[in-house]
Symmetry: C2
Subunit: 190 residues, 2 copies
């Protein structure tokens, strides 16, 4: 997606160690029009898979997932890191390592909103190591739901997430795919 | 906003102690079309105040704030509870009691995205005690920015937040105002 790639090149920053700073337009400050374009494009790419729900992880998955769900016309559920008092005692819970913080976080979804007949499209801001998305897959599977697609805004191929998820044999789409961030570069895949 | 009130009456649940469960359409599962309508209406009500940025708090403020910002055509910034590695060392930080969890949370905004000339519209899902919104006001003030309005999806008048915020002498708008939740009821203000 060309406007996204241009934005990454002009406003993104390679902080080293594979860390891409995009908090000026994706995950702290958010450009709602860019997110709308991302959501529209992800919805277009997944229009054929019959998703009944979009699933994401708080926090930075919410914006792209919300707008993808908007353009697909389905609800979105975001997995919580802490169980709020409004949630029932019996929940779906999985543990996921946070690759940016080095700790383990909980991911929690209420069984009220993830059911066995659902066809789930997982959306997140980044596909890096794939561990957050694997956690979302486990939550969907715990509910007996079927994961029918995975879409992310930015993929870093050199962290191997796509290979980790390939066993699922479902479509995986990213709007901007970065192949190389060594030596301060930001190089998109051809 | 009538469609929101009807949704609260049909799908919301009064859990007692002033707790309103709306996690089927606002803050766990989210109805993106309802959020779009809420964002459109908040943008309409604040169209005249010249906001240059929408400010909210993660997590459940993100959806309504994103769509309000979309319809206003301005960026949104969400205050983080944990400082990510992409954020500079020098930040705006305030402490806020979490009324649903009973603990104190940090609210952090990068100075990169909140500047002294900004006119800030604060958007959140709930106006209850007003403490989260007061935290956002402090962050904006720390940046030297001007808070020009406060908008929320649901207000619970019996928790007193509006009175707490009235010293600011700025417009405060809520799309559904609940006056009474005693005895299992959900009663909207006239």
């Amino acid at each position: 997606m060309e406007i996204l790639k241009q934005r990454i090149l002009t406003q993104g920053k390679n902080l080293g160690h594979g860390i891409l700073k995009v908090d000026g337009f994706i995950n702290h400050q958010v450009d709602p029009h860019l997110m709308d374009e991302c959501g529209r494009e992800l919805a277009r790419r997944f229009a054929h898979i019959g998703a009944t729900k979009v699933l994401t992880a708080e926090i930075s998955g919410i914006a792209p997932a919300l707008l993808t769900a908007f353009h697909l016309g389905v609800p979105i559920v975001y997995a919580r890191k802490h169980k709020p008092i409004t949630m029932p005692d019996q929940v779906f819970l999985t543990l996921s390592p946070s690759h940016t913080k080095g700790n383990i976080v909980e991911m929690i979804v209420s069984p009220e909103y993830l059911r066995s007949q659902e066809k789930v499209l997982i959306i997140d801001d980044f596909l890096a190591s794939g561990q957050t998305i694997q956690g979302l897959v486990r939550l969907a599977q715990a509910a007996g739901a079927t994961v029918v697609g995975i879409g992310t805004v930015i993929e870093k191929t050199f962290e191997g997430g796509r290979a980790v998820l390939s066993d699922l044999q479902i479509p995986i789409e990213s709007l901007a795919t970065i192949a190389d961030m060594s030596d301060g570069k930001i190089v998109f895949a051809a």
